[in-house]
């Protein structure tokens, strides 16, 4: 029970630990926090134009009724795998586009509710995966290697494991 009582303090506790560790090694704590905030603002500014371009597209897609249709089509498969049908669009976008996946996840979580099973599952899926094809393209082209060999199938195995385990653990914890 103590775990449940004190769990909400984990995040502020972590911040305190970070401040203590930095203070002990002689860093300027306040300056580090503001430098971090500046980096966070830069990240936000970097993704904001993509969000502004993609939110209308995702909203339009959602309003068109296509995702429900897709969800219904994929539902037998997703249900067998134990994955909430609402997350279908996120699963399709996640490996391809980071900001597209963020837009889709925001839409799913806003509609299903942040504390609903589907909303939580979408957040966990987003938090435990990467933009697979983008990463593969960046690394192989930067290294000047043409053949990606077994990288794509292995990375997709990891993604599939991510979807299945996210759906399973969320159902076990909050289902």
């Amino acid at each position: 029970m103590a775990l449940r009582t004190f769990a909400p303090l984990a995040v502020p506790g972590l911040v305190l630990l970070g401040m203590l560790a930095a203070y002990r090694s002689g860093a300027d704590v306040f300056e580090a926090l503001t430098a971090g905030a500046r980096k966070g603002l830069e990240t936000t500014l970097a993704v904001a134009p993509a969000l502004l371009a993609l939110f209308p597209a995702v909203w339009l897609l959602r309003a068109s009724g296509l995702p429900e249709l897709l969800g219904q089509l994929l539902d037998p498969l997703l249900k067998r795998l134990g994955i909430p049908g609402e997350t279908a669009l996120l699963l399709l976008l996640r490996p391809l586009s980071g900001s597209g996946a963020l837009s889709a996840a925001a839409d799913i979580i806003a509609r299903a509710g942040p504390d609903s099973l589907a909303g939580r599952t979408a957040a966990v899926m987003l938090g435990s995966s990467e933009t697979t094809f983008y990463v593969i393209a960046v690394y192989f082209s930067a290294a000047g290697v043409r053949e990606s060999r077994w990288a794509v199938p292995a990375a997709l195995c990891a993604d599939l494991a991510c979807w299945l385990s996210a759906a399973w653990i969320c159902k076990a914890l909050w289902g």
Binding site: A21, L33, T44, V124
Partner: protein, 186 residues
């Protein structure tokens, strides 16, 4: 991205016409555009706070500590790359930046490591590095938590243990698939 967006719009318009959702679709575009900026601002709060904590941890020497802790694992996963000090340091920089959620630092280090592995002839090790980077190994899911906070979750970071579980499953599946495929691939 261009053709994909055009396809997305075309499919949406077709579906809206076919499913009788013209009115909703007509409103959706502007609603989406208006929602984007408030959402980005909401998200910024969480991202800035967590970037600050990451900065604190970095200045306390967390990256160096992680690199030391990771060294034995990296030597096992990348025997060829680990023989070259420069590649090994790029590898450990990449993995520790990923663990701390420093995407901006992880990619340049990862690319240096990828070039090193190519030079050393580690074709399988290069694939493994890429697979490792496509699996999210971030210790603290700041983005997903901030997203939940922005959308009004009661306790945004209560998903952390679930994210750890799912990340671990994904990483193990990636490593397992890599171990299997590198033997089968010709």
């Amino acid at each position: 991205m261009g053709p994909a967006l055009i396809l997305l719009y075309a499919l949406s318009l077709l579906a809206a016409a076919a499913l009788g959702r013209e009115a909703e679709a007509g409103r959706a575009l502007l609603e989406g555009a208006q929602a984007a900026l408030p959402f980005a601002m909401q998200l910024a709060g969480g991202l800035c706070l967590w970037s600050g904590v990451t900065e604190l941890l970095e200045r306390a020497g967390a990256s160096a500590l992680l690199s030391r802790l990771l060294s034995p694992a990296l030597r096992r996963l990348f025997p060829r790359g680990a023989d070259d000090p420069e590649t090994l340091s790029a590898l450990s920089e990449n993995v520790s930046a990923n663990l701390l959620g420093l995407g901006n630092a992880a990619t340049p280090a990862g690319i240096r490591a990828a070039k090193g592995l190519k030079r050393l002839g580690g074709r399988d090790e290069l694939c493994l590095l890429v697979v490792l980077n496509t699996a999210s190994i971030q210790l603290f899911p700041a983005g997903a938590g901030s997203l939940r906070a922005a959308l009004g979750a009661a306790s945004p970071f209560d998903i952390v243990p679930a994210v750890w579980f799912s990340s671990a499953c994904s990483l193990l599946a990636g490593l397992g698939a890599a171990a299997l495929l590198r033997r089968l691939w010709r």
